[in-house]
């Protein structure tokens, strides 16, 4: 699996924290996989959430039916920036699996959110 997007977030974690933005990764992987692979092997230090039943993934309309291994339903790649009031301020729904939001792009979008009280 390609981690380049998650890795780019980890690399820029200080900048995200300075901007007051907390990155949170969500997938269908269970907490054990997240603990062993993402926190353990890959060394990510931000929050990883498990959505094996696609609760949040469905609520955000991101279900990619049958796209996982063995035909499992998974999440399509997507990024949402949510402000402290719970309002969506920026989002990215890529049209190409290989094209993802870049940290600079997200931090730029976060500027107005960061400057708020």
């Amino acid at each position: 699996m390609c981690h380049s997007e998650l890795r780019s977030i980890e690399k820029n974690l200080d900048k995200f924290h300075q901007a007051g933005i907390r990155p949170v990764a969500i997938s269908v992987d269970n907490p054990e996989i997240n603990r062993e692979q993402m926190v353990g092997n890959a060394g990510y230090t931000f929050t990883f959430l498990s959505d094996p039943n696609l609760d949040a993934i469905r609520r955000y309309d991101l279900v990619h039916a049958g796209a996982g291994e063995n035909g499992h339903d998974i999440a399509r790649p997507a990024e949402f920036l949510i402000d402290s009031k719970g309002t969506v301020r920026w989002l990215n729904l890529t049209e190409n699996y290989f094209v993802r939001a870049r940290p600079e792009q997200i931090l730029e979008a976060a500027k107005t959110v960061s400057s708020e009280q």
């Binding site: 931000f46 609760d55 291994e69 402290s84 719970g86």
Partner: protein, 153 residues
């Protein structure tokens, strides 16, 4: 006898197309500039195609053994299959994503959720927005960036 020498161009073209295809997931997908569009692979494909053209011309030159013509044809066909599969998966199949028209839009309320983190602790979006949970060196955040990804399944 010169025409009967090893037709290295055809092999080089084939191996280069193979290496170019593999290099994308193994190496070039790591950086956004080489990931968003597989231009490194496509450049290498151009070189591979040029080698194949030279190799085919050599193989089909007069005085060349039938064996050499067959080998050149097979390697060319394999190369085209490799290139075709790569281009199909990176340029066409990669766009087979759900439209997600029901996704929350800018200005809308982000749907709340409660999910389990890597430590087995249940956290909600409102908790992530209002507290400094998760052992991060942060006070109350100004915002949360949700990154949905496919995972290992």
């Amino acid at each position: 006898m010169n025409t009967q020498r090893f037709n290295w161009q055809i092999w080089a073209g084939f191996l280069l197309s193979l290496a170019a295809s593999i290099s994308y997931p193994v190496i070039f997908m790591r950086w956004p500039t080489t990931r968003d569009f597989p231009w490194v692979t496509l450049l290498l494909y151009v070189v591979a195609a040029a080698l194949l053209v030279i190799g085919i011309r050599r193989a089909f030159a007069s005085g060349r053994a039938l064996k050499s013509k067959i080998a050149a044809s097979i390697l060319t066909a394999l190369t085209l299959v490799i290139m075709g599969l790569f281009l199909f998966s990176t340029l066409i199949m990669s766009r087979w994503l759900p439209a997600s028209q029901g996704a929350p839009q800018v200005g809308q309320k982000a749907p709340d959720f409660s999910l389990v983190d890597a430590n087995g602790k249940t956290v909600s979006l409102s908790e992530l927005l209002s507290s400094s949970t998760g052992g991060q060196q942060m006070s109350k955040p100004k915002g949360v960036l949700l990154i949905f990804y496919r995972g290992y399944w």
